[in-house]
């Protein structure tokens, strides 16, 4: 598969952000765009990134293997990243995680046979006051319950996605309550 033109244009935009002799700084943002465009970092795209930035194979490899969001293999159409950290566990995240596993018939790290869903359990996603939370691709979902999760999964299967919680709802006195 050839590298799409849109990706090449994106590379130019990214490299504009850094001093001319610091092209390597564009590495993580560029790999991100590769994933966004191709779904994962294909070996061909990896070589293209090496060439585009003028770095070594090892420079790219070490970044792909270090950062947990880098995907060196394909995943399902919907990547579910479920938070398993303290605040989400305190608010029932473990039960909901078990429910997702049961519902989709997969364990964390696996993809459903129809290629629709990949489940990953991840560390803190920064939604602690709205736990339990998860990301599906680039969308955030907060205050999960078994019912809410069922609706979200059903919506994706039916092609009628439940709107994501963008922006994050205001909870606490920052919502405007007088103190």
């Amino acid at each position: 598969m050839a590298i799409p033109e849109t990706l090449k244009k994106k590379a130019e935009e990214i490299l504009f952000r850094y001093p001319e002799d610091r092209r390597r700084s564009g590495l993580i943002p560029l790999l991100f765009e590769v994933q966004r465009e191709l779904g994962w970092i294909t070996p061909e795209a990896e070589s293209w990134v090496v060439e585009t930035l003028g770095v070594t194979d090892v420079n790219v490899r070490e970044v792909i293997t270090f950062y947990s969001m880098m995907r060196a293999e394909p995943s399902g159409k919907y990547l579910i990243q479920f938070c398993q950290n303290i605040s989400c566990c305190l608010t029932g995240g473990e039960e909901i995680q078990k429910h997702v596993e049961h519902k989709l018939g997969i364990h964390p790290g696996e993809t459903t046979k129809d290629g629709l869903f990949t489940l990953k359990c991840v560390e803190c996603l920064g939604g602690c006051s709205w736990g339990p939370m998860m990301l599906i691709n680039e969308d955030q979902y907060f205050q999960l319950t078994v019912e809410k999760l069922d609706r979200i999964i059903h919506g994706l299967k039916a092609g009628e996605p439940v709107p994501a919680d963008n922006p994050t709802p205001l909870l606490g006195n920052v919502a405007g309550e007088k103190v």
């Binding site: 943002p29 930035l53 420079n59 947990s68 969001m69 803190c124 922006p167 606490g172 920052v174």
Partner: protein, 418 residues
């Protein structure tokens, strides 16, 4: 909804479309940048220093003092906004990025002017897709109105503002790990000295790394003046803070309250008390890296850096996690240790090996296979990580581990086989 006059940094969070620059300008955005560029750069630094504004990322270092560390004749200089927000329990920067990104951009630019930087990088963790989208759009709008770019507000000073995302690594919240990551490397923290990136930072140049909340406070400090700002908090702790409240309270959320607000007020008066009428067991006061506090230790505790430290813990990022009587501390230990085992960057042997070992031991207390000697082994492991690593992540796992074991030893003993 209208702006809320009782709040400082969050007063416009509920204003509709505040991320759009036209709405932001109607609410006073960039007024303080206009003032700042008419002052001498060092006057701006002095003003921030006098306000007592401290870093809200975790270490609580005086912001103005940090800016003052920039060497006199070294150029270029950079400002990097730390939006990695990855200390478990912390979820306040996301609201600034989503709800009032212009406040952050203005604060970062005022900082850049004070230290005469030519570039600002806004580093946001990779998982924050939506906050990144909103902030990136706000940056574009700021350029279009001439607040960023060449000859800003005819001051003769030019500064560009750029976005940069992380890709899922807690360690990149550590400022030198963040800089390595920005240079396109894995986020291995740098050896100290030099202690401050202000001397040698991004690309070896003087760099200020400040948390999102810290920089977003800067326009407000200028607006109300350093004296008034300082007076809001407790001695040495200026202003207000965004407290991230999570766990077993009736009303979790983000609360903007004066520095030094009593912990029990946050939990009961603001957080609505403990869920389901349960009793409070413990509180993690400053993100998962802080020492746990027993319910008794939570009494009469003002939430400022010195007071929480004097009780043997730390305010950190002001992320308060509330734990009720239904939670087993060995289980909590497992959740906590699992995080550090996943996030250890692997650079220093004590942390890389120690975290993994702690995880295996902590699992035994859940499986019911632990023996009493495992309690002491865990303590010793933690002690062998503490203070023996390049960055603070070593202490970040060692401190809570030790505190859980010491303060709740009976709970660990109760699940041991012998």
């Amino acid at each position: 909804m209208a702006a809320n006059g009782n709040l400082l940094i969050s007063r416009n969070f509920a204003v509709e479309n505040m991320a759009s620059i036209d709405v932001a300008l109607k609410n006073g955005a960039y007024d303080q940048l206009k003032r700042a560029v008419k002052m001498k750069p060092e006057e701006v630094t002095e003003l921030v220093k006098a306000s007592g504004l401290r870093g809200h990322g975790g270490a609580g270092f005086s912001a103005g003092t940090k800016w003052g560390f920039i060497p006199k004749d070294k150029f270029p200089r950079y400002v990097t906004v730390n939006g990695d927000e990855s200390e478990p329990g912390t979820c306040k920067d996301r609201l600034i990025l989503e709800r009032d990104p212009h406040l952050l951009i203005e604060g970062a630019l005022i900082c850049a002017y004070a230290v005469q930087a030519e570039r600002v990088y806004i580093y946001i963790r990779g998982e924050y897709f939506y906050p990144t989208k909103v902030t990136a759009e706000a940056v574009k709008q700021a350029y279009a109105k001439g607040f960023a770019g060449k000859n800003i507000l005819n001051s003769g000073w030019s500064c560009s503002v750029h976005m940069h995302n992380g890709a899922g690594a807690y360690i990149c919240g550590e400022e030198t790990g963040l800089i390595e990551s920005m240079e396109g490397k894995k986020g291995w923290p740098r050896l100290k000295p030099p202690f401050y990136p202000a001397a040698i930072g991004l690309y070896g140049a003087p760099t200020i790394v400040n948390n999102v909340e810290t920089l977003a406070f800067v326009p407000r400090v200028m607006e109300i003046g350093p004296e008034k700002f300082a007076a809001l908090g407790t001695p040495k702790n200026g202003g207000t803070a965004l407290y991230s409240l999570s766990g077993h309270v009736n009303n979790p959320g983000v609360y903007e309250l004066p520095m030094g607000t009593p912990l029990m007020d946050l939990i009961h008066k603001f957080g609505g008390g403990i869920r389901n009428g349960h009793k409070l067991k413990a509180v993690i006061p400053g993100g998962s890296s802080s020492h746990i506090l027993t319910a008794e230790e939570c009494e009469n505790l003002p939430l400022d850096f010195e007071s929480v430290a004097s009780r043997g813990s730390m305010l950190g990022s002001a992320a308060v996690m509330v734990i009720d009587e239904t939670v087993s501390i060995p289980k909590l230990m497992h959740w906590m240790v699992r995080f550090y085992a996943h996030e250890s960057c692997g650079q220093c042997t004590p942390c890389r090996e120690g975290c993994d070992w702690l995880l295996r031991l902590s699992k035994k207390f859940i499986d019911g296979t632990a023996r009493k000697r495992d309690i002491d082994d865990m303590w010793e492991l933690a002690d062998n990580i503490d203070g023996k690593t390049i960055c603070a992540l070593g202490a970040a796992v060692a401190w809570p581990t030790k505190s859980y074991l010491v303060k709740f030893r009976h709970e660990f003993e109760a699940v041991c086989r012998n």
